[in-house]
């Protein structure tokens, strides 16, 4: 890999041991990829928090040890300076305002608090959400980013026209300290065109249906790059968020193109660029029905837990849930947790939405989700969610049964204490 004079000096220690370690990792990673060079970035979003039991042992030796090992892949403990470029913490494991409800050990909450202080002092902002683009981090078109979180990466590339690969914990540590990331994959304009075509023959309009189309897409195209034909309804950003998160869960989709909607696809032809347009993969009524069934991992209707807000809810989604819950009570045997970024929670509080959800017996959570924290209310066996992504992951991670449905079905079911949606 070719390094600039400045980058070579960084690797050789001109800016200290931690920058040298970061550059060493980026070179090893870039060479593994077959990248020819690095690219500058001023937009890094990664996972830095240290708050699980495995990390707790390491944290006894100090947070520099945790960062050195897990964010730089360095055997030596190096002193971590301030980040070189704007850097953000993505979703984390503990909501410090709700850790008791989560069932988190107070010692772990204390570790989280100290970890956040350590990271904040080094310039890593504690947005603590899987949706950076909902709380002010909105890359401009063509901006080179280094982001983790598959649902954020697909949104950044497809909806915003920013450029990022799916980065990891170690590469985002190195990127924060150096402002560099390998120039490979979706950083290169020639790699961003569509190579698969999905023909949509059914009406896709509400949130749940966009999630189902995304889930279908991921299974069909795996890690490839789909464009769409036949979409009758223009999706808003919430639908694109849900769609992308689903496609990045059932497959490894990192970019998609919707002509007339997403910025790099003014037309279907432009979406494919120099690539041949392949025969279409049809999404019709049979495929729609089969994908709905594929999202159901449950047989028991009695419901213990309803999880809303994956990816984290927008303020409009919070308002809708409050509206659906107004004057109602959640069944005493069923728990309802609603997840939204901390910044949006402030608005939900001021707007009275949080109070309505809490009066109905629900909990408004920030910073985390049950799949990331692996924390659910005690004794949960059957879960329902409005998220295709959560329906994909939670049953495997938490060993529970899982239903998927619309937000309306989920709220009604939480009130009834049993699943009222479709049964596969």
């Amino acid at each position: 890999m070719r390094l600039t004079v400045e980058e070579a000096a960084m690797r050789d220690g001109s800016q200290g041991a931690s920058i040298a370690r970061a550059m060493d990792l980026l070179v090893r990673y870039g060479e593994a990829l077959g990248a020819e060079r690095l690219v500058k970035t001023r937009n890094v979003a990664g996972a830095y928090n240290a708050s699980n039991p495995t990390v707790a042992d390491m944290a006894r030796d100090g947070f520099d040890r945790v960062f050195s090992e897990l964010n730089l892949d360095s055997d030596d403990v190096v002193e971590i300076p301030h980040m070189a470029v704007p850097t953000q913490q993505l979703i984390t494991g503990i909501d410090l305002d709700n850790y008791e409800i989560q069932g988190v050990d107070p010692k772990m909450a204390d570790l989280q608090r100290r970890s956040e202080a350590y990271l904040g002092k080094r310039g890593i902002n504690m947005a603590c959400t899987c949706t950076p683009y909902q709380v002010g981090n909105v890359p401009v078109r063509g901006e080179h980013c280094a982001w983790m979180e598959s649902s954020a990466v697909i949104f950044c590339n497809s909806v915003l026209g920013g450029r990022t690969n799916v980065e990891g914990k170690e590469s985002t540590g190195a990127a924060g300290l150096t402002g560099r990331i390998p120039y490979w994959g979706l950083h290169m304009p020639e790699n961003r065109y569509a190579d698969h075509l999905i023909q949509v023959d059914v009406d896709v309009d509400d949130m749940a249906e966009w999630g189902v189309l995304g889930y279908f897409t991921g299974y069909e195209v795996e890690e490839n790059q789909p464009a769409f034909r036949g979409l009758g309804n223009a999706p808003d950003f919430m639908k694109l968020k849900h769609f992308g998160a689903a496609a990045a869960s059932s497959g490894g989709v990192e970019i998609f193109h919707m002509p007339g909607v997403t910025p790099e696809a003014p037309t279907l032809e432009a979406a494919f660029g120099p690539n041949d347009m392949p025969a279409p993969i049809v999404y019709g009524e049979a495929q729609r029905k089969r994908t709905w069934e594929r999202l159901q991992h449950a047989s028991e209707r009695k419901l213990d837990f309803v999880m809303l807000g994956c990816p984290h809810n927008s303020i409009e989604q919070m308002g809708l849930i409050a509206e659906l819950l107004e004057g109602r009570k959640i069944h005493p045997d069923t728990a309802l947790w609603v997840h939204t970024p901390r910044a949006i929670r402030q608005i939900a509080d001021r707007s009275g939405f949080s109070a309505v959800i809490e009066a109905a017996g629900g909990v408004v959570m920030s910073d985390t989700c049950p799949s990331i924290s692996r924390k659910l209310p005690p004794g949960v066996r059957v879960v329902a969610t409005d998220s295709a992504k959560q329906a994909h992951y939670l049953p495997a991670i938490a060993k529970v049964e899982g239903w998927f449905g619309s937000v309306e079905q989920c709220v009604d079911s939480a009130v009834a204490g049993e699943w009222l949606g479709v049964v596969g």
Binding site: A32, L33, D73, E170, P182, G252
Partner: protein
């Protein structure tokens, strides 16, 4: 006249180094991609994804032969923790390059190789002994139970 052959069958393939080093171990082969976060147990070195053909099986100390990585961006962190917990694979042979698998192989710090000049899923079976010299870009496969008679 029949003759007993005791020479095992070996196959040699060439490819591109991803992470340098050498290893020799039994192969564990799957045609399915593997998830890191949510797909493996990092304390035991096992595949936990429901419906995966390797569900419940351990890759610790094995030469893992697979198409590559899928799923969450936590892929590298989970294989990184496998190394710290001493349950990492001995080596990785894969066919589809992505940032997840590249970074994951780097931080797992095991010999890794890709772009081999033969179909690894046809030529390597679980239980074969596989020797990797990643720096030289060479993989040598010794078929299990290949002592044949004619």
């Amino acid at each position: 006249m029949s003759k007993t052959l005791t020479q095992p069958t070996t196959i040699t393939l060439r490819g591109r180094k991803v992470v340098g080093g050498t290893a020799r171990a039994e192969a564990l082969v799957t045609r399915q991609t593997i998830s890191g976060w949510g797909g493996i147990n990092e304390r035991e070195g096992t595949v936990i994804e429901l419906n995966h053909e390797l569900h419940g099986q351990s890759f610790a100390g094995k030469v893992l032969v697979f198409p590559g990585a899928k799923g969450s961006s936590g892929w590298s962190a989970f294989f990184h923790m496998c190394r710290l917990n001493k349950v990492a694979p001995a080596a990785m042979i894969f066919t589809r390059m992505t940032t997840k698998i590249a970074l994951g192989a780097v931080v797992t710090r095991v010999p890794a190789i890709t772009d081999l000049d033969g179909d690894v899923f046809e030529l390597i079976e679980t239980g074969d002994i596989v020797e990797i010299d990643a720096d030289a870009g060479v993989v040598t496969i010794t078929k299990s139970g290949t002592a044949t008679q004619e």
